[in-house]
């Protein structure tokens, strides 16, 4: 989906936003922001051709910290807004960022349906297994038993598995990254941007302030890169499901699944498949077509 322009090479600094991030020192979200800036620069995508869209949450503040067109929308609604943006101008590169609460809690319905539509955008969920901005409540990905301000006696509910959920919903690109593995993450972001269709990257992005269970050390002990297993075939959906279910002493990160045989929504839509983006089309309808509309009524 990338609009690549070979002018003078861009650098990550070209994507520096108007203000510096207000995240807590050590927050995992820094790693996601810098990886994204780095990849956009590397791919030479001009800032004005990117729309970064988020919901609400610490992680969702990201559009304010990157110089692209940005939309900081409502809690949970970024994917719906992003679908509208992409349909109105399919030449734009659309990146959606947000948190686990935003994407899998309040926005869960849009998550499933945006996947199903295979909207050509990159969705990076900064999954810290907690509600950060609202000062530490249980999230849909909080582990069972975890104690938070909203569940002080421990979470009795099972968490959502974003990877298998995305796979089951029919996602065409599913990956998991870790914000403390910036090179690996940047590589996933690059592949996600290049993928034609819905690309989902669930990123472990530790909340150093409110989540004392899932810390950097906790993840570091467990993560294992799928790329290190040469036998792993990311075009095998069933195998992706199997690996996606792994959670414990070993937690895989990397690209779980990708298929490239399905058209994205704007490619499947004849109206968009050919021609200019809708946003730049003539507003008036040709008189002979209007005449038909009216004749039908007579």
């Amino acid at each position: 989906m990338a609009t690549v322009l070979q002018l003078q090479p861009l650098t990550a600094a070209d994507f520096k936003g108007k203000v510096d991030p207000d995240w807590c020192p050590g927050c995992g979200d820094f790693g996601v922001l810098s990886s994204l800036q780095k990849v956009l620069a590397e791919m030479n995508i001009l800032p004005h051709n990117v729309v970064t869209i988020s919901g609400i949450g610490c992680s969702s503040n990201l559009p304010g910290f990157i110089d692209t067109y940005g939309m900081h929308t409502l809690h949970g609604r970024a994917l719906a807004v992003a679908t509208g943006v992409k349909m109105a101008n399919h030449k734009l590169n659309v990146v959606v960022t947000g948190g686990d609460g935003d994407g899998f809690g309040i926005g869960g319905n849009h998550f499933i349906h945006t996947i199903r539509r295979n909207v050509d955008l990159l969705y990076v969920a900064m999954d810290n297994q907690i509600y950060g901005l609202t000062t530490g409540q249980t999230s849909p990905t909080s582990r069972k038993g975890m104690k938070t301000k909203s569940m002080p006696y421990g979470n009795v509910e099972e968490p959502i598995n974003p990877i298998t959920l995305a796979l089951a919903a029919g996602a065409t690109f599913v990956a998991r990254g870790f914000s403390a593995e910036p090179k690996h993450l940047a590589n996933l972001i690059k592949q996600g941007l290049e993928h034609k269709g819905f690309s989902f990257i669930d990123v472990f992005s530790p909340c150093v302030t409110y989540n004392h269970d899932n810390t950097y050390a906790w993840f570091r002990e467990r993560i294992k890169k799928l790329e290190d297993d040469v036998s792993y075939d990311s075009s095998d959906w069933h195998e992706a499901m199997k690996r996606g279910l792994l959670w414990g002493d070993e937690i895989p990160i990397g690209k779980f699944f990708q298929r490239t045989d399905l058209p994205s929504l704007h490619e499947a839509e004849p109206l968009l498949d050919q021609g200019e983006p809708l946003a730049h089309r003539e507003l008036r309808i040709a008189p002979e077509i209007v005449r038909n509309f009216i004749t039908e009524l007579m």
Partner: protein, 596 residues
């Protein structure tokens, strides 16, 4: 004098009330007759009771009226419900094999021995075609127009089906000629030819005329017709139409598309609108225009999906938290549904705020004749202050999306334009779009941004004309209505004047901006003011009072799910005028006599 002719067809859902209804409507409109049609139905696909009234006349027909000249009951139930209401010069055409006339009536009974006429075939469609043809004969309509329409209708099914239908129509037509008394006045004709459309079709076409390029919705009666027209015509009109997972998604997707530069629109009914309210605030805060159509049905909650009401006004006024500029208008008839949409888009674009069109089932599923010349697709399009390409004069670095201006309007750059990157946020922000809501909270900046957005309200007020009084200013009684009641009030006013009670009408189309002062100035000189509303609590009366302290002398309200009929208003006005000396406000709640 009432020079109209009304046909009513009653039956169970699935019995095919719609087809003969459409055929009557087409024949009337092609004859140059105006018409107004209303279908009373229920939320079931089979069974229940459906009652379609089509009223036609040489002059504009503004409502479905009080009387039925011809009844076609397709089942016993329809006969039993309506026969008592038939007048002496009316007629009832029915299948005498399956339906008995029952209770006494003054109307001419026209039994059709359907089995005998259709040679033993028991197809219910034959019953309908026979009745249709017999009725047209009695109205003095030639066979040709019917033959033409039946041919158009059945062409796709092959010439054999066409011939069968023409044959059976001919039998019915001739049988009526030989056995039934024709109506005293044959149906008139004019040199005109009209289009027939529903309010939903008009709203959708209005969107197409406005240059809407993105339409999305989640199905909800009685607004679904907008989606159906849009979907069916999407490819030829160049409109991208999406069915979304829920109404929250709908408004967010529409705003996303609008933000990227297209005109975007969506439609729903009260329940779906309730889900959209957070999005409405987003449109206001990001200053991204969006047009939402709310087609009211009887509430609260799931309410009565197939019945009409004007019960959503306060939801529209209060939707979304916080103060923000918005536009709300209620179309006054089906043609106005078409006209209002481009008007609303122009204002929403100019003032970069949400625009709400407040329709209702009466208009959205009702039908009316419209002079095709009135369906003007060359209407003005004003996209407001929008930056769609890089202009060196705009400066590379100086762009501020939320620049503080005197009008409150800040030029809007759409994504993709070089040199204008910015973040649009639902959090409060500064001129640059940088958040000031949490970390950088700053009372001075917050106030400046609120003032900036709210300044648009002045521009909005100036952009919309205040309402005007229709009729003689010195009338004995002034009827005030809003939106869809325009037509029925117009007829009630005419009836009152004919009876020697001078009446005039003030119909409100714009709810926001309201022009309260102008309204009160008109009403101040009215001798007796009655507010007519299709809801329980007098939502408009309460709104006007909250804005202006004005209190009317009386109210007429109806909240049984059915629209007003002219006599409901006329009788209530007479009652109220008879005890005008009462010091307290009078309230009439007319009873809907027809059980549908």
């Amino acid at each position: 004098m009432d020079r109209t002719f009304a046909v009513a067809i009653g039956g169970a859902a699935g019995q095919g009330v719609a087809t003969p209804g459409d055929i009557f409507a087409k024949i009337f409109a092609r004859r140059g007759l105006h018409l107004n049609a209303y279908n009373a139905y229920q939320s079931i696909i089979r069974g229940g009771h459906t009652f379609l009234t089509i009223r036609a006349g040489i002059e504009e027909v503004t409502c479905f009226g009080d009387h039925i000249d011809l009844l076609i009951p397709l089942n016993q139930d329809s006969m039993d419900r309506h026969i008592g209401l038939m007048k002496a010069n009316a007629a009832v055409v029915y299948n005498s094999d399956t339906i008995k006339p029952g209770s006494l009536t003054q109307a001419q009974l026209c039994p059709l021995p359907v089995n005998q006429l259709s040679k033993g075939s028991r197809s219910k469609v034959e019953q309908n075609t026979l009745a249709l043809a017999a009725s047209l004969r009695m109205m003095g309509v030639d066979f040709e127009p019917l033959a033409e329409i039946l041919t158009e209708q059945f062409m796709r099914k092959g010439s054999k089906v066409v011939t069968e239908n023409l044959d059976i129509a001919r039998v019915g037509y001739d049988y009526a000629g030989a056995n039934f008394q024709p109506f005293a006045f044959p149906l008139p004709m004019s040199g005109m030819q009209y289009a027939v459309l529903s309010g939903n079709t008009a709203l959708a076409m209005g969107g197409a005329a406005a240059g809407v390029k993105f339409y999305c919705a989640y199905p909800m009666s009685p607004s679904t017709g907008v989606l159906h027209w849009m979907a069916a015509h999407a490819r030829s009109a160049g409109i991208l139409v999406r069915q979304v997972e829920d109404e929250i998604g709908v408004i967010n997707m529409a705003i996303g598309a609008a933000h990227a530069g297209v005109r975007a629109m969506c439609a729903t009914s009260g329940g779906g609108f309730a889900l959209m309210t957070e999005g409405l605030g987003m449109s206001a805060m990001m200053e991204t225009p969006v047009v939402v159509i709310d087609v009211q049905r009887a509430g609260p909650s799931t309410g009565v999906p197939t019945k009409t009401e004007q019960g959503d006004l306060w939801q529209m006024l209060g939707a979304g938290f916080g103060d923000f500029p918005r536009l709300i208008a209620a179309p006054t008839d089906i043609l106005d549904c078409f006209r209002l949409v481009p008007e609303m888009h122009n204002l929403a674009d100019r003032f970069q705020c949400p625009g709400i069109i407040l329709g209702d089932l009466l208009l959205s599923e009702g039908r009316s004749s419209v002079d095709p010349k009135q369906l003007n697709f060359d209407t003005e399009i004003d996209r407001g202050e929008m930056i769609v390409s890089a202009d060196p004069a705009n400066g590379e670095n100086g762009y501020k999306r939320y620049k503080i201006t005197e009008s409150g309007i800040s030029p809007r750059a759409i994504p993709g334009v070089p040199g204008h990157t910015h973040t649009a946020a639902t959090d409060e922000h500064d001129e640059d779009g940088v958040l000031i809501s949490d970390e950088f909270t700053n009372p001075a900046k917050r106030r400046a941004m609120m003032d900036k957005r709210q300044r648009k309200v002045l521009g909005i007020e100036a952009a919309v004309q205040p309402p005007v009084l229709i009729g003689t200013p010195t009338a004995e009684v002034t009827l005030v209505g809003w939106g869809s009641t325009s037509g029925v009030i117009r007829e009630a006013v005419a009836m009152l004047n004919e009876e020697g009670i001078s009446a005039n009408q003030l119909q409100i189309r714009w709810m926001v901006p309201l022009h309260g002062e102008a309204i009160v100035n008109i009403l101040k000189s009215s001798k007796y003011t009655i507010m007519v509303e299709n809801n329980y609590s007098g939502q408009f009366a309460r709104y006007l009072r909250s804005e202006t302290s004005y209190v009317p002398d009386g109210c007429i309200r109806k909240y049984d799910g059915e629209p007003f009929m002219p006599h409901h208003i006329v009788e209530a006005v007479k009652e109220q005028l008879a005890c005008k000396t009462h010091k307290t406000q009078q309230l009439s709640v007319p009873v809907h006599e027809i059980m549908v």
